[in-house]
């Protein structure tokens, strides 16, 4: 019977974290408060200057404020890390430190409002509404002359997404085992592999497929091939992550039992792990294809081929009736894929 000894978090480390959090909180409140509330709202400066001095100054003052208020009940950091004791019945939401948190949220909201340049005047202006009416009218009277052209481009998109998924499956299948913590924490070398692979996957996943498509369109030229490569890279990273998470959540029992029969580690994986993951894998894969079809459309916008490419061309020429036709086609594909993939995944359960 495994029994875990609960490790108590070190009070001093928690305190340090709390202090850093406090400093950053106060610096943020001061900086944003000055820039947005004072410069923008009160003296209404058109083009506020940016210099590194202001954030640095805010950080120093934030440090000072955090130091002064650290041992009072207004320390958000100590509150969040559980270093402030309060009446259990009241809950943390009504504590003094929570008000600092509310101030943070309100300030962020105001800032967001200003940064997004929300303006009702422009949204409801006469010329603006006229433009909207024109484009909607064109979109809703699609030009059926481009139906055939659009359809072929759409087929290209679907096949491109399919190949991208198909190529990604075997690679992700193998990598998935190496990215699963419960299989890789047996020795140090394996754990090193696990960490390296995880870092690599996280980096490639954090680069959007759109960016990959731009990279590949320079590498292999504009067209479906660059789009397919972009989708493939992204699919490998995403599928590997999903596959490995599935492996991490399996029941250890069959692994134990197969190991106990004296089987080879490869047999342990094949008989102890694989039967437990086949169905979730299929489900993820179908869903990935569905996502890839939708993404392929977007990727086409930057030269990844398919219907997205066509859409970009007509949009550039402001031929809205043609664009309307393509939008209808895209909507039909997305809806069909969505429906088919959910039906398929349901059937697999």
């Amino acid at each position: 019977m495994k029994q875990r000894v609960q490790k108590k978090p070190n009070k001093y480390i928690q305190g340090c974290k709390a202090f850093v959090l406090d400093t950053l909180t106060w610096a943020y409140i001061l900086l944003v408060g000055y820039k947005i509330v004072y410069e923008k709202m009160i003296i209404d400066e058109r083009y506020p200057e940016f210099s590194w001095e202001q954030p640095l100054l805010a950080l120093y003052i934030g440090l000072a404020v955090a130091a002064i208020l650290f041992f009072t009940k207004l320390s958000l950091g100590r509150g969040l890390f559980g270093l402030i004791k309060f009446d259990e019945n009241e809950g943390p939401a009504s504590q003094p430190f929570a008000w600092v948190g509310y101030l943070l949220i309100v300030l962020t909201f105001i800032t967001g409002f200003y940064v997004s340049q929300i303006s009702m005047k422009e949204f409801l202006s006469e010329s603006g509404l006229e433009g909207a009416r024109r484009i909607f009218k064109a979109l809703f009277s699609p030009n059926w002359a481009v139906f055939e052209e659009g359809l072929f481009a759409a087929i290209e998109t679907i096949y491109m997404a399919f190949i991208a998924t198909a190529v990604a499956i075997p690679i992700a299948f193998v990598l998935g085992f190496f990215a699963a913590r419960n299989l890789m924490n047996t020795n140090r070398l394996a754990f090193f592999c696990y960490n390296t692979l995880r870092a690599f996957l996280n980096i490639s996943r954090s680069i959007e497929p759109l960016v990959w498509a731009i990279i590949f369109s320079v590498w292999v030229g504009i067209g479906p091939f660059s789009g397919m490569l972009a989708l493939c890279i992204h699919s490998i990273a995403s599928l590997t992550k999903q596959y490995s998470e599935q492996i991490e959540s399996i029941d250890d029992g069959p692994i134990e039992a197969i190991t106990a029969t004296g089987a080879h580690p490869i047999q342990v994986v094949w008989f102890g792990v694989v039967p437990q993951i086949v169905l979730p894998y299929l489900s993820y894969t179908i869903y990935r294809w569905d996502i890839n079809v939708r993404m392929a459309t977007v990727i086409g916008l930057v030269g990844g081929g398919g219907i997205g490419n066509l859409l970009m061309q007509y949009q550039g020429q402001a031929r809205w009736n043609e664009v309307g036709m393509l939008v209808i086609l895209i909507a039909a594909i997305v809806w069909t894929m969505d429906w088919a993939s959910s039906k398929l995944r349901e059937a697999l359960k």
Binding site: M1, Q3, E256, A257, T259, A260, G262, H264, W270, P275
Partner: protein, 252 residues
Amino acid sequence: MLEIKGLEKVYPNGYHALKNVSFCVPKGEFLVVIGLSGSGKSTMLRCINRLHDPTGGEVLFCGVDTSKLKGSALRKIRSEIGMIFQHFNLIPRKTVMENVLSGNLSRTGILASILGIHSPEARALAQKYIEIVGLKGKERNRADNLSGGQQQRVAIARALMQNPKILLADEPVASLDPATSHSVMQYLKKVNEELGVTVICNLHFLSLVRQYAHRVVALKGGKLIYDGKPLEINEEWFKTIYGEDAVEVTIN
């Protein structure tokens, strides 16, 4: 047959699960291990076939110290030690036949086993063991659709497929109802008596212990505190093993 000398196990988190445990198991014995949850019973069984690695002491199985083995030598020893589990641990979505054949993996090539190729002898043997545990006609059923008791019998057949010298049973009846418990214990008894396989079994219910065990050892807090005949466990020993406030629950 099996000799355990000064077995120690400390988990990486510092939990000391086994403290200087020593005892012998002669061939053909039905040994039962009792003790509270967390007393180290499961850990001890897993140290024998190295599902866990002991941190000290020796486990001599037919004269070989299993605690030092690695790689293929370890797999060879494991193949001679059958094991069944509280939660059966069958391969889900596979048939009874495939599950029983998985007991033969150590003697099947990796590629052959992945492709599902098994020798006719192995299939005949699997068929024989399926019949021994009374599951004739269920060969093609999916193992996870069977009842708990039937699943445990599949697990027994899988262990027998290894042609083991010893069978480890980790609380084999703890997730079964009383009637099924007895039926599974009967099969273990049959394996012990008719096939001559030595059995080491972790159990919770003393009534089952008295009925099936040749000999009993008790663990408490990782230490061996009792080694003797099942009928010699009196009220006093019971309180020592399970604590002052414990009351015996019977299962009929």
